[in-house]
Symmetry: C2
Amino acid sequence: MIIRINDNNFLDNFNNPLFLCVISSIETTLYYPISGVHKDFIRYTPAADVELVFLGKTLSIKTPPLDSSLSPSPAVISRACISLLNIKNLHTNAGSFVKPKIPHILVDEKPTGRIELGKAMSNSKELFNLGYLLGKNLTAESLIIGESVPGGTTTALGVLKGLGYDAEHKVSSGSINNPHELKIKVVNSGLSKVERRELFNILNAVGDKMMPVVAGIVKGFKGNVLLAGGTQMAAVLAVIKEIDRELLKKVAIGTTEFVLNDKNSDLIGLVEQIGDVPIYGAKLGFEKSSLEGLRKYCEGAVKEGVGAGGLAVYTLSKGISNEKIREEIEKNFSKWYPNTQR
Amino acid sequence: MIIRINDNNFLDNFNNPLFLCVISSIETTLYYPISGVHKDFIRYTPAADVELVFLGKTLSIKTPPLDSSLSPSPAVISRACISLLNIKNLHTNAGSFVKPKIPHILVDEKPTGRIELGKAMSNSKELFNLGYLLGKNLTAESLIIGESVPGGTTTALGVLKGLGYDAEHKVSSGSINNPHELKIKVVNSGLSKVERRELFNILNAVGDKMMPVVAGIVKGFKGNVLLAGGTQMAAVLAVIKEIDRELLKKVAIGTTEFVLNDKNSDLIGLVEQIGDVPIYGAKLGFEKSSLEGLRKYCEGAVKEGVGAGGLAVYTLSKGISNEKIREEIEKNFSKWYPNTQR
């Protein structure tokens, strides 16, 4: 049930993780349709995603976020895994439009800015240092780190391109139709403002605040880290490699089958360019679901996010079947979405 | 070097703690001189205290806070212990005027209000629930919980009195002169607004936001908890007892000798009224210090705060001498206070 690519037995000694989702909003998403998140939800999506994971219900909006095809946020997968294995979780705000109404670790209050103007942030190095200090002070045995950053595949493209990787048409999308040309245009516009293509200059221009924070946590934390996400985590890997390539030895990527099966992106091709890092993909069996919203994942809707893939990989690795994960989502669905037809 | 009162060998199995300082500001302190904190620092004190503990330097103000007699914040003791034993630490904001410029757990952005008006907060029950969820998601083996709440001995008096304890003239003070009569006046005024003296009504009127958050953490956390502080932690004990008296079995109080030696307060007399809870006091030997600011602690300045006593108790329990703690403070003092004469 777990697709294993470049496996090094990472999962065999991966126990008692803390799950930490790092969230950020990107101002560019208010001006350009780069994100698959439904526009009515985009301001609230990061906050509501981590509320659902932490509490089992959303507070900032009435229901968990929906994508533009009305499929549910991948946070429903994350929450199911958290519930099934009682995984401890604590989330990190690296600048979301709306703050989660749950106890969470605040790192930055200001959202990521306008990447098309090369003005994503001015403090990526400071955010890396704050992430490092945070990572040093986490007490867990291991970490699963996810993200909720609408528009984050565009910043992933920007950072990968800025660092010299062949990344065009390789980043994923939360939509069935991946707006590659728009993403390339936005990113090229932002990168044109970068005078010297050094890591923190690139992040400041076209990155998002999740990236330096996660890279810092990985550097500061003593244990192993499962980076839970799709091509956004490939960009994080590239950032980590620039900082200290030895760190790649303690990380793996955990994602969904939907990312790995996607014809419009290439996570494996990106990771191969970066380094020798295992990729695990959770097979979720959503084609068998009674819920149209989950079946749409198999057609390319949503695919990944909020650590869903990594949490599902971890849950499967502990002997819980994907039927159990699916049933847990289906059981709660009418509570989460009382007005949604099946 | 540890004063032991009602000892039950709590410290023998107390290992690998996370230190978590819960901070809040109180609006009343802007109107009435109930706090020993220097008035130029009071808005910044909670933020600067946890910055010093977490980073080893302050960011929100140039130097660590000083009390009205120009003695240093007890955060210097806390930081010394954190450094000597590499204690992991992550702090919690329950409403401070100024947010710490470090990654920290945000629970409430709004400070505690006007206790003299009986309007400390409106959400104490919600804060308890958020603290509970936070406690459930902490991965450490044990916890040391401190506080930085200027004016917090007045809220301690209010809550203890509201719950029916004999507390007048028993709460401590960060000043050499303890303004008992002013505290009683403020608290009586606030309590007169409480129609039904039930726990959350009392907290809402005259408590501070640190209290329900810490009580919630204690309820949610699976391991043992050393409540690090003076008479403010007696008020937390009283809150915990109202919620579930069984919880008293997993807590102890860790404080300084300065609180225990204080003729103007009575921590032991307060705890005896509440329950069978051990109290540990760190003997710090500051009378031997080369620093006037530390010697003044022996005359009753500051006494306690920011978890200093509990952290020192823990550090002493692990075989580190109080000379080492004092030397660590003295070594850093000219860096922390470059313009202060010895």
